[in-house]
C-alpha cells in the first residue's frame, strides 16, 4: 500500500503543477498582455479554464491530506519551518480564487473589473512564486528543527537565492504552460498568434530561469549538477526535456497546435519527475539530524491501509467524473463552437 500512496502523492503533485500551474500561468500572462488584447484574452481564459477551475485545485488538497495522514512528520515540519511562505501562498490562493470568480460574476462590468484583474494577476504571480520557494526550501536543506532562533528557524530555510530562483522558474514555466495551452483554445487567428508569440517568449525566459536555478544552487552551496548526475533517471529526464526543446520551437513556429501542447506537458512532467526522483525517498533535507524520508515519517500500517483504499476507491469515483467533465467541455468543443 505504501507504493500506492507514494504514487498518488507524486501524481497529485504532478497534476497540480500541470493543471493549476496552467491556471496560475494564465493569470500571469494577463499581466503581460496589451490592454487592447486583454478583454478578448480574458474571455478566452475564462472559457478555457472556468469549467475545470475548481477541479484543478483539488489536487493540492489531495497532496495535503496524503501528507498529514500518511507522512505526518513531513506535513508538520514543512508547516512549522515554512510557515511564512505557506501563509503567503495561501493568501495568493484565496485572492486569485475569489477574484477570478468575482470578475466573472460581477454583473456590472465597470471600473471594478480593472481591480479584479489587478489582484488576479498579482496573486497569480505570488502563488506561483511561493509554491516554487517552498519546493526550493525543501530541497536546499536549510530547515533546522533544533533551533528556536526566529531567523534561523523560520526565515533562512526559504529566504535564499536558490529558493527564489526556483520560485521564479515556477512562475516562468507556468506562464509558458498557460500560453501553449491557450494557443489550442483560441478560435480566432489573431488571438492564436498572440498566444503563440507569448509561448515562444515565455519559453525563452523559462530556459534562462532554469539556468539561473543551477547557478543559484551553486552559490547557495548545493551541487545540483552533481546531485542530478548521481541519479541517472533524473539526469535522463532533464536531458529528454532539453532535447525536446528544439522540436517544441520548430512546431511552435510551424503553428502546430497539438504537438507543442503535448511537449509542454511532457517537459513540465520530466522536470518534476527529475526533481522527485533526485529527492526520493527524502522529502525534506534537514541541517541537523536525519533527513525526513517517506520511510522514516510514514504513519502506522493500519493508517496507510485505510489511506491507500480511500485513494483507490476515491479515484474510481473521481476519474470517471473527471473524464465526463473533460469530455463535456474540452473534447466536444468543435461541435459547440
Amino acid at each position: 500500500m505504501f507504493e500506492v500512496i507514494v504514487l498518488f502523492l507524486g501524481v497529485s503533485l504532478l497534476f497540480y503543477c500541470l493543471f493549476a500551474g496552467a491556471d496560475f500561468g494564465a493569470g500571469i500572462l494577463e499581466g503581460f498582455s496589451s490592454r487592447k488584447f486583454r478583454e478578448k484574452g480574458q474571455k478566452l481564459t475564462y472559457d478555457a479554464i472556468g469549467p475545470v477551475w475548481e477541479a484543478n485545485h483539488i489536487w493540492l488538497i489531495l497532496v495535503v491530506v496524503i501528507l498529514f495522514m500518511g507522512f505526518p512528520k513531513v506535513y508538520t515540519t514543512i508547516s512549522v519551518a515554512l510557515h511564512i511562505p505557506i501563509t503567503a501562498m495561501l493568501i495568493g490562493i484565496v485572492l486569485r480564487g475569489c477574484f477570478f470568480t468575482f470578475r466573472h460574476y460581477d454583473p456590472i462590468k465597470g471600473r471594478s473589473q480593472r481591480y479584479y484583474t489587478g489582484v488576479f494577476v498579482f496573486s497569480s504571480i505570488a502563488t506561483s512564486l511561493f509554491l516554487g520557494i517552498i519546493a526550493g526550501a525543501v530541497t536546499l536543506g536549510r530547515i533546522n528543527l533544533e533551533t528556536t532562533n526566529f531567523i534561523q528557524g523560520f526565515i533562512s530555510p526559504w529566504f535564499n537565492l536558490f529558493s527564489f530562483a526556483v520560485g521564479i522558474f515556477a512562475c516562468c514555466i507556468f506562464t509558458f504552460l498557460a500560453a501553449v495551452y491557450l494557443i489550442g483554445e483560441a478560435r480566432e487567428e489573431d488571438i492564436r498568434r498572440i498566444f503563440l508569440d507569448q509561448a515562444i517568449k515565455s519559453n525563452v525566459v523559462t530556459v534562462i530561469a532554469g539556468g539561473f536555478v543551477f547557478i543559484a544552487a551553486q552559490m547557495d552551496g548545493l551541487d545540483l549538477i552533481e546531485l542530478l548526475w548521481s541519479h541517472p533517471l533524473s539526469a535522463a529526464c532533464l536531458v529528454l526535456a532539453t532535447l525536446s526543446l528544439p522540436v517544441l520551437w520548430f512546431t511552435l513556429i510551424k503553428r502546430n497546435v497539438i504537438v507543442p501542447r503535448l511537449l509542454a506537458g511532457f517537459q513540465v512532467s520530466m522536470i518534476l519527475v527529475a526533481w522527485l526522483w533526485m529527492q526520493y525517498p527524502v522529502v525534506i533535507n534537514l541541517t541537523h539530524g536525519e533527513d525526513l524520508t517517506l520511510h522514516n515519517t510514514s504513519a502506522p500500517d493500519a493508517t496507510l491501509q485505510m489511506l491507500g483504499w480511500a485513494l483507490i476507491v476515491g479515484s474510481m469515483l473521481i476519474l470517471p467524473a473527471l473524464f465526463y467533465l473533460l469530455k463535456s467541455f474540452k473534447w466536444n468543443q468543435e461541435q459547440v463552437h
Binding site: 485545485h57 508538520t76 484565496v94 460581477d106
Partner: protein, 440 residues
Amino acid sequence: MEDLVAARLQMAISLGFHIIFACIGMVMPFLMAFSHWKWLRTSQPVYLDLTKAWSKGVAIFFATGAVSGTVLSFELGLLWPKFMEHAGPIFGMPFSWEGTAFFLEAIAIGLFLYGWKRLNKWVHWVTGVFVGISGVASGIFVVAANAWMNSPSGFEWVNGHAINIDPVAAMFNDAWFSQALHMTLAAFVSTSFAVAGIHALLLLKHPKHPLHLRAMKIALTFGAITALLQPLSGDISAKDVAQRQPAKLAAMEALFQTSQPADLIIGGLPDVDKQEVNYASHLPGFLSFLAHGDFSAEVKGLDTIPRDEWPPVVIVHIAFQVMVGAGMLLMLTGLIFLFLQWKRNPLLTHKNFLRLVALATPLGFIAVEAGWVVTEVGRQPWIMYGIMRTADSVTPMNGLVYPMITFTILYLILAVLVTWLMIRQIRVLHENYKPSLQEA
C-alpha cells in the same frame, strides 16, 4: 498578544468565515435544484430565472468557500503542528473521504454551471443535485473529524504516543453522528432562512414580485422543516455531551455545583469567581431531563472538574443561550409559515410577515457561529479531549499575531466584497425584470 491566543483567534476567524460559505455551498444547490426541477416540470420561466439567479450565488459562495477551506487544511499544521503530528494518522481518514467528496463536488459544479446548453437537461439537473449531495457528504466528513477532537478514539495513548491506531474506529467516534446531524440541519436552517429573508426584504420593496415570492416560499419550506427537526438533534447532542464531556455541558448551563435534580438555566450572566449565575430564569428539573431523560437524575457540575480544566464558562454559556434562542425564534417563524401556507392565507404576503422573515435573515448564521463557539470553546483547554492540551500543541513560531491580523483583514475584505456583489446581482436582476413581465 500571546502566540497561543493569536493562534486560537486565527483558527476561530478562519473557521467562522469558512463555515458560512460552507453552509451556503451545501444548501443553496438543493434550493437551486428544487427550483430547477419545478422549471423542468412546469416550464414556467420564473423558475428558470430563479434557478439561474441562485446558481450565481452558488458559484460565488462555492469559490470563496473552497479557498477558505483550503486555508483551513493548511492551518491545522501551521498553527497546531504537534497536534497534527499525532492526530493526522488517526483522524485523517474522514479527511481523505472529504477530499474525494469535495473533488466530486468541484467536478459537479463545473458541469452544472457550464452545462446549460451542453448537457441533456435531466443530466444537467442531476449534476446540480450532485453538487448538494457531495457538499453535504464533505461537510459530514469534516464534522466527523472535528468530533474526534471531542471524542478521541481508535488508539491507545502511551507515554505521549499513539499506538494501536484504528482509523475506522476514530472516524466513527462517539460524537460523529450527533455532531454531523446537528451541523447538517443547522446548515439547512441557516441558509434557508437567510435566503428567505433576503427575498422577503425584496418583496417589501417590490410587492408580489413573482420571482421573490416563489423563492421565499421554497426557501421557507426547507427552513421550516429543518428548523422543526433541529430540536430533536439538539436533544441527541445534549445527551451525548452530558455523557462524554460533562465539563462542556456544565459550562453550557453554567452549572457550578453538581445537582440532583438540576434546573435548566435560561439566560443569565455567570459569575465564575462567586460560582453563581445572575439574572437567570430556572426551569426545575429540566436539565436533568435534557441530559439524562429523567427529571430527577444527577447532573455533574463544574465542581467535579479540576479548576484548570474548566472551559471559559461565560463564553460557552452565553453562546449556548444565543444558539438556542436563535434556533427557537427560527422554529417559531417556520411554524407560522407552515400554518399560513397550509391555510393558503393571504397573510403570507402581508408586510408584517415579510418583515418577520426579513428579520430572521442573520439568525441562523448567528446560531451556527454560536454553536461552534459552544463546541470548540467548550472543548478547551483540550485540543484532543482529555489527552492533549491546546497550549501544548501550538507552533513554536513567534509573532503569530501578524498572520492572524492578515487573515482577519483578508476575510473582512472578502466578506464586504461578496455582500457587495450580491447586492449588484440583485440590482441587475430587477433591471431585467420589468414590472410589465410580472404576474401576481
